[in-house]
């Protein structure tokens, strides 16, 4: 692989890396035919982020040395971030950035050609790895809203930077409401301040959602994409469905697109009665079975991940992480996997390490799709080469 980024695009690339660094500690680099893909996932598998830079973003783009397969690798996020640590400096001094993969000595070489003939070369060690792919499809989400990133930036402004989760929903009068989400703790002596921001429908370019729908997700992770979108002056779309299904945050322009897929809290996780103040919640597809949930851990929601062993895709190796508890509703909508066998949960034993797919359908290209439906019930095999 060899690609050359010039001019203002170097800073854009740097900003994307900063954005991704908010999510995960490892950066997956994959040169594809349709561009360079940078992906990451967080440790609890509740957030996935991906930027795809089209070939036109680069002055030169070569996915793979002719005759060879493209190398997929993962590197430490903080190593790659260090190259673009100071965006101000990057903007001022860097003229060109050349990224190449040297398979022979396992180094990702990032060379910054700066002013005054200064050249900085970073040799980052990488690990070859499987392709990191989250299974999601925005088109399958029932609800979508889209607004200029600036509007959303202003919307989150009143919230404290330390706030972890926020609830987004449609209130009466088709107003879009953002409210700080606080876990209810009966023994908490000092209550936390609750902040709510209400924006009129007219500020949105697209609003396809009924009054009463709402999702709760991690604000800190969302800010990662929001900051990038604001600086690039792009519109941001939010595709979502019922609580518990991941929400997809997307930006796009002619040279790049970005997707952040964040898990949302399911209805049983949302103990706060405040959610119902938005409007009566959808009595939708799900009938939460409160007894079925193994624990109240706020992090017990996650994203389906699939990795492919090789491009040929002869056998998809469902390698997924697991997280205790959190089974999907027993009466699923048309799309979810049919996982109806529930293990009996004995008190005192650790929760069963069983993964439930939270996604509907697969976006893997037909050539790569696994044979038949895949109930992903495999143990985590991450770390195996």
């Amino acid at each position: 692989m060899k690609c050359l980024v010039t001019g203002g695009n170097v800073k854009v690339l740097g900003k994307a890396v900063h954005s991704l660094s908010r999510i995960g500690d490892e950066l997956y680099l994959e040169p594809l035919e349709d561009g360079l893909s940078l992906r990451t996932v967080n440790s609890s598998r509740s957030a996935y982020a991906c930027f795809l830079f089209a070939p036109l973003f680069f002055q030169q783009y070569q996915a793979a040395t002719p005759g060879q397969e493209a190398l997929r690798c993962k590197i430490l996020m903080k190593s790659f971030l260090a190259v673009f640590r100071s965006l101000a400096m990057v903007e001022k001094t860097v003229e060109r950035c050349c990224i190449s993969l040297n398979g022979r000595n396992s180094r990702l070489v990032v060379q910054l050609h700066c002013r005054y003939g200064v050249r900085k070369t970073h040799n980052l060690s990488f690990q070859e790895c499987e392709s990191l792919q989250a299974v999601f499809d925005p088109a399958l989400c029932s609800h979508v809203l889209r607004a200029p990133a600036r509007v959303l930036g202003e919307a989150v402004q009143p919230f404290p930077p330390t706030l972890a989760e926020v609830t987004l929903g449609i209130g009466s009068g088709r107003r879009v409401i953002l409210r700080s989400y606080q876990e209810e703790e009966a023994d908490r002596t000092v209550k936390a301040m609750v902040t709510e921001m209400s924006i009129g429908e007219e500020d949105f370019q697209q609003l396809q959602a009924q009054e009463g729908v709402a999702i709760t997700f991690c604000l800190k992770e969302f800010r990662g994409l929001l900051t990038f979108a604001e600086s690039a002056n792009l519109s941001l779309s939010i595709h979502f469905d019922v609580p518990g299904r991941p929400a997809i945050f997307a930006i796009k322009d002619s040279l790049l697109d970005g997707h952040f897929v964040l898990a949302t809290m399911s209805e049983s996780d949302l103990r706060s009665p405040e959610l119902h103040r938005l409007a009566p919640p959808l009595q939708a597809h799900s009938t939460p079975h409160l007894d079925d949930f193994a624990n109240d851990d706020i992090d017990s929601y996650m994203i389906a991940m699939e990795t492919t062993a090789d491009i040929e895709g002869s056998r998809a190796v469902p390698s997924v992480s697991f997280s205790p508890g959190h089974q999907p509703p027993a009466s699923p909508g048309p799309y979810s996997e049919d996982n109806d066998t529930e293990p009996s949960i004995e008190p005192g034993t650790p929760p069963p390490k069983k993964f439930r797919s939270l996604f509907f359908g697969s976006i893997l290209a037909p050539a790569h799709s696994p044979p038949g439906p895949s109930p992903v019930l495999a143990e985590d095999s991450e770390g195996e080469g």
Binding site: K191, M193, E202
Partner: protein, 283 residues
């Protein structure tokens, strides 16, 4: 067992301009503070608890200078006041959003828990309306504790002097903090004020001159005192710095009153907000 008074105390007021500066200032001074609401005034109170290092603060706003509408009903006709305790940072964050407000409303409400609801309608470029609501949890302070929250009486000062530019004082005290934990503040009736720190290795003094002294309350006291004689108090430097750090804008009036070896009293006026801050001598 928490002390709740019945929170059926309606208090609604509309502000058309309020400087978040006041609440910012207070947020830097203490984690929690008391808000006293009475028919003609709003007070922010910090009483001299051990947790504050004996420091106390009294801040007063005349309601007519800020509110276009002000309604309140206290506990009873004789005690027409409300005392609330809240986290200062919450209020300052809530009011920060109000910097671009078209309208601001503050109400006492009881949504799941008693709170001060700050409701802000934001100015926006387009016609669209944006509304931010902050529910600040509060604790209503029962009447029996009100006596500890009254305006402190200011004893007669040995020396009263106008303060130098607070920003300058702050940058000096910030550097001094690295050398010593205690600072001596001294002044005389000749318009001279000194900030001194002393350690085994070094003594540093900063001299301010020609500051001017406010006219004294009683002629006799000032006649008797030698104008060159310094009145001094030794205080915890961090308390002084906390106070100075909260002063973003130079006040309209700033007076320092020193009661030798007892207490230093800062009396500031920022436009329509009066602030008094007491730092006791370090024992």
């Amino acid at each position: 067992m928490p002390h709740w008074a019945p929170v059926n105390l309606p208090a609604a007021f509309l502000l058309h301009s309020i400087t978040p500066g006041v609440s910012n200032m207070i947020a830097k001074l203490a984690k929690t503070c008391t808000l006293r609401i009475s028919p003609d005034k709003l007070n922010f109170i910090l009483s001299d608890k051990v947790a504050n290092g004996g420091v106390s603060m009294w801040c007063e706003l005349e309601q007519e200078n800020f509110f276009s509408e002000f309604q309140m009903e206290g506990v009873s006709a004789e005690n027409n006041e409300i005392y609330l305790e809240l986290t200062s940072e919450n209020l300052s964050r809530a009011l920060k959003t109000a910097q671009n407000a078209r309208a601001l409303k503050i109400k006492l409400t009881n949504k799941h828990f008693p709170c001060l609801t700050v409701s802000i309608e934001l100015l926006s470029v387009s016609n669209s309306s944006r509304v931010v609501t902050h529910d600040i949890p509060i604790r209503v302070i029962p009447r029996k504790l009100w006596k500890d929250l009254q305006e402190p009486t200011v004893p007669d000062a040995d020396v009263s002097i106008y303060l130098p530019v607070l920003k300058t004082m702050k940058s000096i005290v910030e550097k001094m903090k690295n050398i010593s934990n205690h600072l001596i503040i001294e002044a005389n009736l000749n318009g001279e004020l000194n900030l001194k720190i002393e350690t085994e290795l070094v003594c540093v003094t900063t001299h301010f001159k020609d500051l001017g002294n406010p006219p004294s309350a009683s002629e006799d006291a000032s006649q008797a005192r030698n104008p060159e004689q310094m009145a001094e108090v030794r205080i915890d430097i961090r308390r002084l710095l906390q106070f100075l750090a909260g002063q973003q804008v130079n006040p309209t009036k700033a007076v320092c009153n020193i009661m030798s070896n007892k207490i230093v009293h800062f009396d500031l006026l920022h436009e329509d907000v009066s602030l008094q801050y007491f730092i006791p001598a370090f024992s």
